[in-house]
Symmetry: C2
Subunit: 200 residues, 2 copies
């Protein structure tokens, strides 16, 4: 396979000195492709070999009601054999661009939490879920003044949302402190909300 | 392959109603194994098919000096083609148990940041880096009163640490707000520190 072929997306912010020298696919599934790559880096221009799991970018959204409550969904997570309380999230379909990412956030608000955004959809940047082995990047949003939408929720048949709960900022903080919130998406979004002084 | 075989670790907190019905390996590399599994869940006792990327558990540690500064390492991350400012982290070698996890945190403090912990190593629970597709779990710690160790740092030859920086809690907050800190490990650990009132 020629250099860089088979990669679904370019890195979101390519930096100088990074070049894919070789890439061969080890495993391909609908939601995950694994490559063995040889990559030149700024400090290692001769290249280093790395196994990279490629995934589509995702959007994660913190739905906040007019009363200042946050909505979390409780979702069965097969990979970790647990149900987790999380902010709604989903993968971007098709081309990854700012409009598609925002549309994904709004779609997941509706499908997973059954609400629509009547206020603003505030971008809070992105993060890498596990930069040691995957290019997966999730884009973070705060949706203000969310309210139930007429059609309710509409879960993907492959996923199971067990419930939707409304939590104050203090509840959320306590759940994070106690380890009851334990997924990177929700923790990263809480970190950005807190760091920007937007939590309450 | 028989049910559940090939799995490196049991889920950290198995819950009632989860059973691996079938598991076949799609891809095996030293640091990543991908399985196609059929799993019974509490809401889907007949089973659901899922592709799961299995990884060893990791430890992430926030090194804090006696003066209240945090140490971050700047690391080249091949999977995302960028250098990132992060808290030191690494995978647990051998059997995953509480002692091995703490030893990993202390090892990474020394190897990546060149410091030793003269105070306490405080456990802040764990998190899942991307519960939609991987069982990877990272255990979070605060190390207090860290100070340079005699032997300095000793980086893994496969990794490149470009530098170590000292940042106040306010610096850290500003870097997170600005998106300059963008890895799940550091954001999740900041979230737990903040939620527990331990940041400053």
């Amino acid at each position: 396979m020629t250099a860089g072929s088979g990669c679904r997306e370019a890195p979101a912010r390519p930096e100088l000195g990074w070049h894919t020298l070789e890439s061969r696919i080890l495993c391909e599934t609908p939601h995950l492709q694994v490559f063995c790559e040889r990559v030149a880096t700024p400090s290692r221009p001769g290249g280093v070999e790395w196994v990279v799991a490629r995934r589509r970018a995702a959007a994660v959204v913190a739905p906040r009601t007019a009363a200042g409550k946050y909505l979390l969904v409780r979702q069965e997570r097969v990979a970790v054999r647990r149900a987790l309380w999380e902010f709604p999230a989903g993968q971007v379909d098709g081309e990854v661009n700012p409009e598609a990412i925002r549309a994904t956030a709004l779609r997941e608000l509706g499908e997973e939490a059954g609400v629509a955004c009547r206020g603003e959809l505030v971008s809070l940047g992105a993060f890498y879920s596990s930069a040691g082995f995957t290019d997966e990047q999730a884009h973070l949003f705060l949706a203000t003044d969310v309210a139930p939408r007429a059609e309710g929720s509409a879960h993907d048949e492959h996923e199971v949302i067990l419930g939707v709960g409304e939590f104050s900022a203090g509840d959320l903080r306590r759940m994070i402190a106690a380890g009851e919130v334990a997924d990177a998406n929700t923790l990263a979004l809480f970190a950005r909300l807190t760091a920007r002084g937007l939590l309450e």
